[in-house]
């Protein structure tokens, strides 16, 4: 799997939908996906159609009694794209946290000149 961004799942709503479908379930029902992603019915309908048209998501429609139920799952192509995109995001997150760590280490001490004398004795005494 290569870590690369996918423009189609770059918007956060589509990333949420694909990321949830890639979590491991075979099929996820419309209401479960909507509630987990915290989006509205119309947003889920619209974005899932975009993903379906791109061949990333497979849609199955059924009914229990009179209640229509729609199920979603990732296609192999969709899974590959999501995994690549998530790996890319993880790399990005790692780079950002490394940069933050470096910046924090490079920052000079904000305390007075005698701060090392106040801080070091308890630390040395505890070892």
């Amino acid at each position: 799997m290569t870590a690369k961004p996918d423009p189609l799942i770059h918007p956060i709503t589509r990333l949420s939908i694909c990321g949830l479908l890639a979590a491991g379930a075979d099929w996820v029902e419309f209401a479960a996906l909507r509630d987990a992603a915290g989006i509205s019915d119309s947003v889920l309908s619209k974005q899932s159609r975009v993903l379906e048209d791109a061949g990333y998501v497979q849609v199955r429609k059924g009914a229990v009694g009179r209640r229509p139920r729609t199920w979603f799952r990732l296609t192999a192509q969709g899974r590959q794209a999501v995994e690549g995109h998530l790996a890319w995001l993880a790399q990005l997150e790692e780079a950002v946290s490394a940069r933050t760590r470096d910046a924090r280490q490079a920052r000079p001490l904000t305390g007075g000149r005698d701060q090392p004398r106040r801080v070091l004795p308890p630390l040395l005494g505890s070892s």
Binding site: I12, S16, G19, L20, A23, G24, A32, W71, L86, L92
Partner: protein, 157 residues
Amino acid sequence: MRDTARDPAALELLRVQRGRLADRMRPPWWYLTGIGVLWALTFACPFTSRFLPQGVRIWPILLAAVTAACLLQWGLAQATGISVGTRTLRYPSGRPAQIAMALTGAAALVTETFLIDRDLIVTAIVVAALAVVAEVAAQQAQLRGIRQDLRDGRGAA
């Protein structure tokens, strides 16, 4: 629409959403009750093959148990909105519990048959009852594992 590259919390948000999805995967009361009844039927097979008249076969009972198991899985998917399918061994956290279920089932059937052959009927009934409890506990552990893998995104095929 928000752009994930400018949102460093995108992965954190996805973790929260996966947690919400995993929390839905809690079995309703009838699921575990049904699993208990199914295992009770399965562990009753050594008794039925010994005590029922020769004409009664155990295969129809086992076939009914398998059909009921499929119906329970279907019902769980409908109730939770999450279908985990039949290849549940692909969930690494739920795998030990599933293997334990298979081993417990086989061991209990062999032990029951052994005890019934020696006319230790009460002991065989106790073994069957304990095995049913163990199987239901293992089923709960397996579902806990599946929930954990959904939360971590480790259940992908």
